[in-house]
């Protein structure tokens, strides 16, 4: 995956976030504060603007611009979390012109680690960590499909939240899909899509 393709991936991700703005917020309503879609869409718009204004010339530059846009525009929990993920992406792609499968695998692992480092959440706490762990772990093994990603996202539904806003609900958080996992799902699915159609 080269810069052009990575840029396509990111654009597809941002378009997805904007298209599903209301849906993501709706997911955040029953177990959070109903703003995840607004937050992510705001970040997406800001990132797209930044990328248009000064188009990055390296993969590192691409991910760093996105990280800074998300950090300064998203707010909420997801801002610093996605910001940290993309900072890790930037680091993993430093001095790389294209990302081969091994680098890509490392990129997702580094993203997951950055996420867990920043948010201190572990597996099963009903956060986006619960899609990042299986995705990054299985990336190298199976040929992952969009259906696999959907299943990972759906698997957050029965979990009881113990991190993030949803934790205030205790047992009442059970039975709802985690909104951050859904938005991360868009990241993974747009990735698979761009990779498979290129």
């Amino acid at each position: 995956m080269d810069l052009t393709l990575a840029r396509q991936w990111m654009d597809a991700f941002f378009e997805d976030l904007k298209a599903h703005k209301d849906y993501l917020s709706e997911l955040d309503n029953p177990i959070g504060d109903g703003d995840h879609g607004i937050n992510m869409a705001r970040g997406a718009t800001a990132a797209q603007e930044a990328l248009t204004q000064s188009p990055p010339e390296t993969l590192n530059g691409l991910f760093k611009t996105i990280a800074m846009s998300l950090l300064s525009k998203v707010g909420g929990a997801s801002g610093p979390l996605y910001g940290s993920v993309f900072l890790a992406f930037a680091k993993a792609s430093l001095d790389q012109d294209t990302l081969d499968d091994k680098t890509l695998s490392q990129l997702f692992i580094d993203g997951k680690d950055a996420l867990m480092n920043r948010g201190k959440a572990t597996k099963g706490e009903k956060t986006m960590v619960d899609v990042w762990i299986p995705f990054s772990e299985r990336f190298n093994q199976d040929p992952l499909t969009k259906e696999d990603v959907d299943a990972m996202v759906l698997a957050t539904k029965p979990l009881k939240a113990t991190k993030g806003r949803a934790a205030y609900l205790g047992d009442r958080s059970i039975g709802h899909i985690d909104p951050g996992s859904m938005s991360s799902g868009y990241l993974f699915k747009t990735f698979l899509n761009v990779r498979d159609h290129s």
């Binding site: 504060d33 703003d35 607004i38 707010g75 929990a77 610093p80 993030g164 205030y168």
Partner: protein, 329 residues
């Protein structure tokens, strides 16, 4: 949604400008940032900052001024502020002795303030912080995210602001903050929801005779939906929840705050505080000071919260009683 606004997406900007201009004798907006800082500098003293999502007015900017906060950061409505903006507040508040951050326990707030601290430290500004978690609606949660920071946080602002003004160091303030936090307990309820302007629809719904007990200041669901009950009954339910956390013996002195959530009139708040006083009198507990009013709101949510602050240290009361020069304290 019926609100007095122009574009919903401009609400925070416009509110900040209105606030800064209406109270220009006390505060100013820092450039184009999301920061309102006090005019009084407090040279050589530690700056205290706080912030969070907007929609809790007069929190936080209403408490910016001599003797309380040095600066406040405005996130979008009900959304944590971003690290770059928190960093702007740190820079505005730093008068050479470092900056102390009062963060309410929300994942988003904690993460964004921590990132700002990283940024500031990279630039050589000393930063320390405390995380308030006075909401007891989740019971004695074992996981750290279970207890939110709510209205009790304001006592933290006031007492730390007082000590900063009197020359306390970052280390002193951290110690004071850690002594205070376990003595704060708050519980709230909602009668009707709030609407985030950019969302346009209420964050939750309640039936005509239904209330939500243990609600958060962003409309996060509480521990129980219940039928409407009398003020006396609510006071009793709340007392039990707060007591479960503070384990009151009857010997202690309390500071009491009844905090309106936005749409609940003072009329109801004063009826309620009287029921709380009566209950405390029955238990032999002394009320050293009390606050009633809209201190930390949830836009136009109807409801209120009750905070007990156990005066483990008599100096805390002196700090509360000291005058400040703010918009809303």
């Amino acid at each position: 949604m019926k609100k007095i606004l122009n574009a919903p997406s401009d609400v925070v900007e416009e509110m900040m400008n209105g606030m800064a201009e209406a109270h220009k004798d006390l505060v100013h907006r820092v450039g184009n940032t999301r920061v309102i800082a006090r005019n009084y500098a407090g040279k050589g003293k530690v700056g205290i900052i706080s912030g969070g999502g907007s929609g809790h007015e007069p929190t936080h900017a209403g408490y910016v001024g001599k003797g309380m906060l040095s600066a406040a950061i405005f996130g979008d409505v009900f959304t944590s502020p971003t690290p770059d903006q928190v960093y702007e507040a740190i820079k505005a508040a730093d008068q050479g002795a470092g900056v102390f951050m009062v963060v309410k326990n929300y994942t988003g707030d904690v993460l964004n303030f921590e990132m700002a601290k990283d940024l500031a430290e990279a630039d050589g500004i000393d930063v320390a912080y405390t995380v308030t978690s006075d909401d007891v609606s989740g019971g004695e949660s074992t996981y750290s995210d279970g207890r939110r920071g709510v209205a009790g946080t304001l006592f933290m602002h006031k007492i730390l602001g007082y000590h900063a003004e009197h020359g306390a160091t970052l280390k002193d303030l951290k110690e004071i903050a850690e002594a205070i936090n376990p003595n704060l307990a708050t519980i709230g309820l909602a009668l009707s929801p709030a609407t985030v302007p950019e969302q346009g629809t209420p964050g939750f719904t309640l039936k005509d005779d239904e209330i939500e007990l243990g609600i958060g200041i962003h409309g996060e669901p509480g521990f129980e939906k219940a039928s409407m009950m009398t003020s006396k009954k609510i006071a009793a339910v709340f007392y039990d929840k707060l007591n479960a956390h503070l384990k009151l013996t009857g010997e202690e002195e309390l500071v009491v705050m009844v905090n309106g959530m936005g749409a609940t009139p003072l009329m109801e708040q004063y009826v309620f505080v009287k029921d709380v006083f009566d209950l405390l009198k029955d238990k032999g507990i002394t009320v050293a000071k009390s606050y009633v009013g809209d201190y930390m709101t949830s836009i136009e949510m109807a409801g209120l919260s009750l905070t007990f602050f156990k005066l483990d240290d008599a100096r805390w009361l002196d700090a509360l009683n000291a005058p400040v020069e703010t918009i809303a304290w």
